[in-house]
Symmetry: C3
Subunit: 257 residues, 3 copies
């Protein structure tokens, strides 16, 4: 990315945190059972308004009143299978962004099929880790393969890991913030994808929204890693840090390039 | 309420906390997925014995051995839809109190219908927020509309918010305890409704049980708000405070009128 | 047990903690809704790699790639009922150990029936409390009844409570570590059974695996009980302690006989 893009991501992150706190966007999250509480609490800590209903009868009504939708493919039970296509259709018809988190598509052929069908519904952002990307794209992640995937699927590819990488086919940024304990707490990535959705509810440039969200999460994780006594106390420290996070803190800690 | 009623609520709250710890009432809670862990942990912290099974095949058996039932309409999947009427019938037949928490009835017509049907099963207490009350009662909450609703439905209306208000048609109390962080943690209200059920298992006067439970929750929340570093560390601080809560602490902090 | 067995359990516990951290065994856990997050976080804190999917369509594929399986009978909904037999069959065919946690079989006849059927699938270990054992075995727990049950079902009986007792029909050990707050946090036992599965993935002697896991959990609980401010802050302190636990700490605290 150019020299100009990097400070833009840093500045926009602080502004987006402020705007989420002021405007309280509604995010409807269909997510896996183990991620539900952390996802709702992350959205609340950031100032957004979560809902989590997954039943096919009700989730479309919740999606219709939301400003963004998150679809996480974990816990793919009958209710969620039936609900997901209707929720995607509802978000698209309302012109609201939605984020796809293809959890564990590398572990289940049925889930990989559903992820590929879901991609046809044009998610604004796909958030995944290296194994999930490889299963979905058919090749391991690299700046080039992420760009190609993003261009092909007309989405933003947001790869999370020790270094996050966000590509939309034209622009790319790598974010080196974060902490090793984030990998020792379940659903950190799943919950983080909800912040991507909250930011996308406000920032129409989905690449910028995803980049800012992953930067905010990485910085909050870094702060939490300095105070937590281990993986047990990490989630509380992380949510506390995200709740307080501001532009000066982000500016002083950002390691994006 | 009269001058006599207020000290009675304060005194009875400390006594009910002691009685729950001594008698360990069983509370069966059919509640939403994101609230299950906090609900169980709140009941355990208070000294009660929770169970959470939601399947239609098993939940009535759990209800039959419980001292009170909580029905929360979040996560209204097929299993819960099928289980709820049988559990309500079981509690009524056994003469045990049950508490209705009509979560998000303002967001889903299907849920509002079910809440109205459930009201026919005569919950001892209905716990809701302002939006949920307005959807259920057809008018915004006020002392008069809460009283009218309670009288009409032959229940106790327990409205939670910055100030809680508990009305049974004849008596009313407003509780101003609590902390702003309670609104930044998912399922605090849902879990709190389980304490209403635990108190109702012991105190036959459902208005008194609900008033005392909301006072205890508000005071515990206030204490937690003074020590927590943010919304992430709030739930642990809240449960710790509830676990230790006693009559002198309640007396010194109660703001009821 | 003989004098020789006791130091062996203590030594092996430290070694197994190291091996789990180095080898990161995959544990697939079908467990109840309220236990999912804590179970995943306990496995991650110990260094193992959890997965939790419960749907019949996907859970067998996750089991096939796992090193051990945990089947907890809480939240026995239609998805889990359908998934459990296929997952057990998958684990057996792959020669992987599986652990049965017959939660609340004392409260539901349907669940007791399923637990008895599941026993025919030869779990390596059955983890239960006193009430669950009594329902399953038809008599209250004692060293003799645990031995008889273990011999009859060709499994290891791991009874948890103020004192844990692990019997395989020939060998027995009693572990007196732990803390009273462990009974005031939901799903501590359920999550602990996942560590039994993680240890069984590495240690082929299921009695030794279960004994070491319960010793590690008891010592971590004891440490957490010394620092936690109550049941709310206990789970974080417990996971932090388990994450740091090592052989010298175990040796100095073990109360096994």
């Amino acid at each position: 990315m150019t020299d100009e893009a990097f400070p833009h991501v840093v500045e926009r992150t602080g502004a987006l945190l402020d705007e989420v706190r002021a405007r309280r966007p509604r995010v409807h999250a269909i997510t896996n059972a183990a991620a539900q509480t952390l996802t709702a609490n992350l959205l609340l800590a950031a100032g957004a308004a979560p809902s989590l209903t997954a039943s096919a009868e009700e989730a479309p009504a919740f999606t219709a009143r939301a400003d963004a939708l998150l679809v996480n493919l974990g816990t793919l039970d009958a209710e969620r299978r039936a609900a997901i296509p209707w929720c995607i259709a509802t978000a698209r018809q309302a012109g609201r962004p939605w984020v796809l988190d293809p959890v564990f598509v590398d572990a289940s052929p049925a889930r990989l099929d559903l992820a590929r069908l879901s991609l046809m519904g044009r998610p604004a952002v796909v958030r995944c880790n290296a194994d999930e990307f490889a299963a979905l794209a058919g090749e391991p992640p690299s700046p080039a393969s992420l760009q190609a995937f993003a261009a092909r699927a007309q989405t933003v590819a947001a790869l999370t890991g020790p270094v996050d990488r966000i590509e939309d086919g034209a622009r790319g940024v790598a974010i080196a913030n974060g902490h090793a304990l984030m990998a020792r707490v379940t659903a950190m990535g799943c919950a983080g994808a909800a912040l991507v959705a909250a930011f996308a509810a406000i920032e129409a440039d989905a690449w910028l929204a995803a980049s800012c969200a992953l930067l905010a999460l990485g910085v909050a994780g870094e702060i939490a890693g300095e105070t937590a006594g281990g993986p047990g106390s990490f989630p509380a420290a992380f949510l506390d840090a995200l709740h307080r996070l501001d532009e000066p803190e982000i500016r002083s800690r950002a390691r994006a390039s």
